[in-house]
Structure formats: C-alpha cells, structure tokens
C-alpha cells in the first residue's frame, strides 16, 4: 500500500489522466454541480469541475512530502534533545525534560493551529509546524532509553578503559537507539499524515490550489450530502495511508523491540 501511494505520488504526472488544476467544462453538470464517478473522470469531479482522481494523485505528493519531511524533522529534534538530556543529565537534561513536560501539557492541535495561523501556511511551513508539535513524544522515549543504556555496565567498562565521550555516545549508545527511532519514525508518519489532513480540513493547512486530501474535503464539506464521493475518496486515501504506516510500524516494533515480545 505504501509502495502504491509512493508510486502514485512520484509518477503522478504520468498516471493522472487530467491535469489536477484544470477546470473542465464537461466536468460539471448543466446546473454546475460536480459529476459522480464516470468513465472519463474515474472518481468524479469536484465543485470546480476538476478531476478528483488527478487531484488525489497529486494530493498523495503533499501528504507524503509532509509526512516524511515533518516526521523526519520531528524525529531528528526529538532524538537530539532526548539523547542530550539522557546523556548529559544534570541541569541541561532537567531543563530539556521540563520543557518537554510543558509541551506535553499543550493541546497539540490548538498549538499547531495557532502556529499555522501565525506563519502563512505553505507546504514547508505546515511540515515545520507539525515537526514543532510532534517531536515531544519521541524525545521522551529516547530520553528514557538513553538513561537506561548509559547506566549499563558495558558503558562503564568502556569508560574505564578511557574512551572519549564522542566514542561512547556515537559508537556505544546511539546504535542501540536505531530500532526505537525506526519504529517511532514509521508510526509518526501515520500521525503526521492525519495531522496534515486535519489542519488542511480546518483551513489552516496547505493553501489551495495545491491539492491536499484534507483540503479537498474542506472545500467540498458543505456539498457532501449531494456529492459524497468528494469526501469518501480522499477520506479513504488518508485512512489507507495512515493505516499502512501504523501497521508497518507495529510490525517493526514486534520484530525489533524484544521487550514488547512478551505481550504478543
């Protein structure tokens, strides 16, 4: 499924039967209503007579770019702060973790909406806003793992033979964190895709005419009783993409995280 979406996103210009931004005269009924799915427009047309199938294909780009960029940035911030706090400890660690607690108390969506309202949202701004909100949990997990790692005896052994801190940190600590980062990185993409869709649905996400799945639903919300396909198809796309990253992340956790194995 992920492969399918990625292929659609990358090759959108070749697959799409119509340009995503072109408003077709024959894409509307005589009364100006959107068309349901038919042989020309496979998934129907939207309120402006644009091909929904083409817009969904290009929307996959938006979702995946934001999903990967925003989540990559969130994992990076979370990992750096978590490792720093866990390794350095002391005052620096305390300040970082208090700040993390503070961010946990913040209603994430409200914060994202406020941030998105401050910076006029473009694709990259939305990605940045999501990253600013989503790093918190990763930082916590990495922090507690780093602490547990640093206290293990082999680290003490390495220290006692006189290894410098970069060696301890990068050769003896960080590699043990990769599985966790991988699992959280995958699960995080699911969350990010949902958050981007929600922001776009609330009208503070990616700006039109850039196609975004949440944005398509936002545009057609008031019309959906007459044109349910405008909500159904993008909704299904969001769900499938998010679900597949959730399932892959969950499977990765079962494989990589031996502490969870007992629960299976």
């Amino acid at each position: 499924m992920i492969v399918l979406f990625t292929v659609s996103a990358v090759f959108a210009p070749f697959i799409a039967p119509h340009p995503p931004d072109e408003q077709f005269f024959e894409g509307l009924t005589l009364e100006g209503a959107p068309l349901p799915p038919n042989s020309n427009f496979w998934l129907g047309t939207d309120l402006l007579g644009r091909s929904l199938f083409s817009r969904l294909l290009y929307g996959a780009r938006t979702s995946l770019i934001i999903g990967i960029a925003a989540n990559g940035a969130a994992v990076l911030i979370g990992a750096i702060l978590g490792i720093t706090a866990g390794y350095v400890r002391g005052k620096v660690g305390m300040v970082i973790m208090r700040f993390t607690d503070l961010m946990m108390a913040f209603p994430a969506l409200l914060l994202a909406i406020a941030l998105a309202a401050i910076f006029k949202p473009s694709l990259w701004i939305v990605a940045m806003v999501i990253a600013l909100v989503n790093w918190v949990q990763i930082a916590r997990v990495i922090y507690s793992q780093t602490i547990a790692l640093v206290e293990q005896e082999y680290i003490e052994a390495v220290k006692s033979i006189g290894a410098a801190w970069p060696r301890i940190l990068f050769i003896h600590t960080v590699p043990h964190l990769w599985p966790t980062l991988l699992v959280w990185g995958t699960l995080g993409i699911a969350t990010t895709v949902l958050l981007e869709a929600t922001l776009s649905f609330l009208g503070v996400g990616v700006r039109p005419p850039t196609p975004s799945w949440g944005g398509i639903i936002y545009e057609s919300q008031s019309y959906f009783l007459d044109a349910p396909w405008l909500v159904f198809f993008p909704g299904a796309a969001i769900m499938l993409l998010s679900l597949s990253f959730n399932l892959v992340g969950d499977a990765l956790r079962d494989i990589l995280d031996p502490t969870q194995r007992g629960h299976q």
Partner: protein, 306 residues
C-alpha cells in the same frame, strides 16, 4: 503521600506558568494587528492609538505579561476583541457542551474498547484477535472529520435517524460522541488487550482455572476487575487528545463547545479567546495527568507514590 502531592502540585503550577508564557508569546507573534482589526480600515491614526492605550497594548511586553498573569489569578481571561464580551464568560457558557461531549466520548470509548480488548486477549493469536487489532488500527487511522462526515451521511442523510448537527438533545450527542469514541476506542482496545494479557499470566488465574472454572468465568469474574482499572485510570491522560478531537468534531457537527469557539476565534484572530481556550485546555490536561497519577496507587497498590 502528601509530599508527593505537594511536589506534583508545584510541578503543575510551573507547567501552567510555562503554558501562559507560550500562549502570550504566540499571541504576540500573530501577524494581524488586533488594534487595526478592532478599529476598522478607515480609522484615523489617533483612534488606533487610543484603542491601543485602552487595551494596554502600548506597554512593554514583560509589563503586559505580568498584567495578564495578574488578571488570570482573578479568573479574568480578558475581553474578546470581536465579540466585546468577557472571555471567561464565553468559555464558561461553552464549557458544559464540551464536557457533555467528553462524557459521551468516554462512554463510547469504553463501550467499544473494553469488550474488544477482552475478546482479543482471550483469543490471543487467532484470526479473531488479528482482525480486532487491525480494526482498532483502522479506527485510529480514520481522520475524525472523515468519520464524522461519514456518520452524518449514513445516519442523518441516507437513514435519517439522527439530526444533521446542532445541540440540544441526546439525539444530537450520539453521532459526535461516537465519532470521537471510535478513534479513542481503538487505543483503549489495545490497552485493554495488553492489560488483560498481563493479568491472565498471573498465578491466581491459574488457580482459578485449576479449580475448574469455565474460561469466561475466569476472564469476567477474576481477571476483568484487575485488568480494567488501569485502563480506566488512563482516561485522565486522554484530555489533550480529546481537546484536539473536540475542535474538529465540534466544527463538523456545529456543536457549540469551546472547540468551536477556539476555531471561530482563530479565523477572526481573536487573540484573548485563543489564549483562553488553550489555557483552559492546558489546565484540563495538567489536572487530568495529576488525577491519573493520584488514582493509580489506589487502583494498583503495588505502585507507591514517591
């Protein structure tokens, strides 16, 4: 116990202070000038300046922040720029609707999550288990606005048994609460499953089985009580997630709670309302976390408060 309580309270106060500082900074970063929006396009420079002085927005920032904190202590969240009413009043008038929605949401979350979790744990490793867990992931993967719109389409349009949105009766509550309950129920079923599996591994369960009780008697009478309590205690940690959902679902269903208020305020750059709602939500989250921490040792006496 009391030392722990004191420490946690102090920590909560610090977190809330931090939240006020961040909301204050965010409000200041907003690109639109609230004074201009209030005065209108044709206002003279003098009018603009007098409104600015009136609102105290000409003072240095730290002074504005301290004044803001001082008013907060008295329960005063300021006046809305647009609606010309007290923010505290606005929020209080909207709060009952959101609390009602929250009660409905919790009801559906538990109604869906707990039986699904028990069933799944009991059939561990079977196809039933896999299907329930896949469904629970599907539940959390559907965006809440899509689920809301779909439920509206199904049960208010195709089969018109519920109203299309609004507020007032139990009928109005069911669809929005169910929307939030489905996504929450997904998480609860996973927690319930792992909690149940933990309990089922214990010795007293083996004893119960050994004396010849049927599997369902073991699960429902002996294991359920111990397994369900930790899950219920998690509700306190859920308030943040609920608040995010409330913004979305209240706007889909036209539910007049504080989520909708926040949403409208953001459209109109009504800063005091945004700050007020964020703060109220943060208080809810902090109190929820505190309650969860306090309830835990009663639920599971093996956890000591330090």
């Amino acid at each position: 116990m009391f030392i722990f309580l004191g420490k946690r309270m102090a920590q909560s106060v610090f977190i809330l202070l931090g939240v006020t500082l961040i909301t204050f900074c965010l409000a200041f970063l907003m690109p639109a000038d609230p004074v201009r929006m209030l005065a209108g396009r044709s206002a003279t420079q003098a009018t603009v300046e007098s409104i600015r002085t009136q609102l105290g927005l000409d003072k240095p920032l730290p002074v504005q922040y301290l004044k803001y904190l001082g008013r907060l202590m008295q329960g005063d969240l300021g006046r809305s720029y647009k609606q010309k009413t007290e923010v505290t009043e606005l929020i209080l008038s909207r709060l009952p609707a959101t609390l009602l929605l929250m009660a409905g949401t919790i009801f559906f979350e538990l109604l869906i999550g707990i039986p699904a979790g028990i069933f799944s744990a009991n059939r561990r490793g079977t196809a039933t288990d896999n299907w329930i867990m896949a469904l629970s992931f599907a539940g959390v993967s559907v965006p809440q606005f899509v689920m809301g719109l779909l439920l509206l389409y199904m049960f208010a349009h195709i089969i018109p048994i519920f109203p299309l949105g609004g507020y007032g009766s139990l009928q109005h509550l069911i669809l929005p609460a169910l929307t939030l309950g489905i996504s929450g129920g997904g998480w609860y079923s996973r927690m319930m499953r792992s909690s149940m599996l933990d309990v089922l591994r214990q010795d007293y369960i083996r004893t119960a089985r050994a004396k010849g009780l049927s599997e369902w008697a073991v699960v429902l009478i002996h294991a359920l009580r111990n397994a369900v309590l930790p899950v219920i205690a998690m509700i306190g940690l859920d308030i943040g997630i609920f608040m995010a959902g409330a913004v979305v679902v209240e706007s889909v269903f036209g539910w007049p709670g504080i989520g909708q208020l926040a949403w409208q305020a953001i459209q109109m750059v009504d800063i005091p309302i945004i700050m007020g709602v964020t703060l109220v939500a943060a208080i809810g989250i902090v109190v929820g976390n505190l309650l969860a921490d306090l309830v835990m040792p009663f639920v599971d006496p093996r956890i000591y408060l330090q």
